[in-house]
């Protein structure tokens, strides 16, 4: 494109000149080609994305974030509870913890998780 072309309005040409000045080092080094190729790749990806693929990716995102969230919640809360007392819990306290419904649900969940991992081996 000839930037000195008189058809370019006087208001736009300083903008184009400034842009060209910014791009010049990239052009001189032959690196602008990479950026144009990258834009083409991004454009291809947009063309390839369809609603069912976006839905699958979105569900994957939800699963990943929900799992990370639950695990980090559990670790944070357990850490806070475990560090409340300077003494480690005694055997009786551990047994008492086992009697709590939340603990039994959590242990059941952990065992079930291992069970399903086993099924997939």
């Amino acid at each position: 494109m000839d930037l000195s072309n008189e058809s370019i309005s006087p208001a736009i040409s300083p903008v184009l000149n400034a842009l060209m000045e910014k791009l010049k080092p990239l052009i001189d080094g032959g690196r602008l080609d990479n950026l144009v190729d990258l834009l083409s790749l991004v454009s291809d990806l947009v063309d390839l994305l369809d609603p069912p693929m976006v839905e699958k990716l979105a569900v994957l995102f939800e699963n990943a974030t929900a799992t990370t969230w639950s695990v980090s919640n559990a670790i944070r809360t357990a850490k806070a509870d475990s560090t409340k007392s300077e003494q480690p819990p005694g055997v009786y306290q551990l047994l008492k913890l086992l009697r709590e419904p939340d603990t039994r649900r959590g242990v059941g969940f952990a065992l079930k998780t291992l069970n399903v991992i086993g099924r997939q081996l």
Binding site: V46, L49, P51, V54, E55, L57, A58, V59, L60, F61, E62, T65, A66, W69, N73, A74, T77, A80
Partner: protein, 396 residues
Amino acid sequence: MSKRIVIVGGGVGGTMLANQLAGKLYPEILRGEVSIALLSNSPDHFYKPAFMYVAFNLFFQEELKRAERSLLRPEITFNVEEVTRFDFPGQRLKTRSGKVYDYDFLVIATGCVPAPERIEGLKEAGDHFYQYEPARQLAQRLSTIEKGRIFITVSFPQTPNVPHQCGIAPVETTLMLDDFLRRRGVRDKVEIIYTYPTTAQLLRNCLFLQRPTGEILPSIFEQKNIRFQRGFTLKRVDPDKKIAYSEEGDEQSFDILMATPPIRAVDAVLESGASQAPNHEGWLPTNHETLQVYGLENVYVIGDTVDLPVSKAGGACHNQAPVIANNIAAEIRLGTTIAVYDGRVQAVAQMGLNAGMPLWYDYQHDVLPTPPTKLGGLLRHGFNRGLYWAVARGML
């Protein structure tokens, strides 16, 4: 003594606020100085904007709900309780089960409910997409109509400068309807008429509640052969003759009346006496900066129940929640509020079945409409299907 924060309402506003408060006040929670409870009338959380997609057979009910407990941090106590009475001077709530909850800080996040019964004949003859069952009924009708006339109306609250639910929804569904009927191959035999009332918040005789967007709508509608009419304020509907009558004296026939119905606050808020909104609509007098309720001590409001001129939508809650979380934390820690809501709302508008238009506005700026794009549509799709749940958990 421990400060009790009680949030009433398990919609997106209450849920994201509860999670953000639990994060903000975590040191106090650990020391037993603060407790957070959320009360909701349902064990399930619904992604309400998906009801609009249900009307076009694009969402199953199973996909738009999650257990509320699974969206809340474990530090939050969650109880399925419907609040029936607010005792503001006594700083306590009563629930349908007879329980009493005392609070030091209260957040009302009970949303709003469609009230088509407030317009004669609308409940009998009209359809809407703001709840699951009505949206399913509308889907049945839209899937089977072969020819005729679909008439679209929008009813605003009578409280001055308060919008209807989700400002852009009537435009979104009109464009989705056009695409949906084209896909079905019946668009040339079905006439679509989009109408807007004479008074739309501060504007008069327009097609949308903000001027810049309203000005581009005629060209969009003309390209798609959607008819449009200003100054149609729905007054009553004759279900037998299938005619909609306007306050302005017009009458229009229809085969399907796709209406944005009147809305109101929930019963407990209506009966609390805290609202002076006309027409028994129940909007709470809200400090537009701190989001406290005027005239009440230690009470905040988030989402649809405010009387502010911003959209009654999740995109508003998303910006209100951090303000309330910071203000309650600051009241506990510093004895004063510190954060200010600037009226910001953001969303990705669904402009037809495939295109999307990201948008934002605040008290000072209107939406600057941009051309809807495929990428915008995919962004909205990704939000509907996954990102939303991270937002509700307070992660985004």
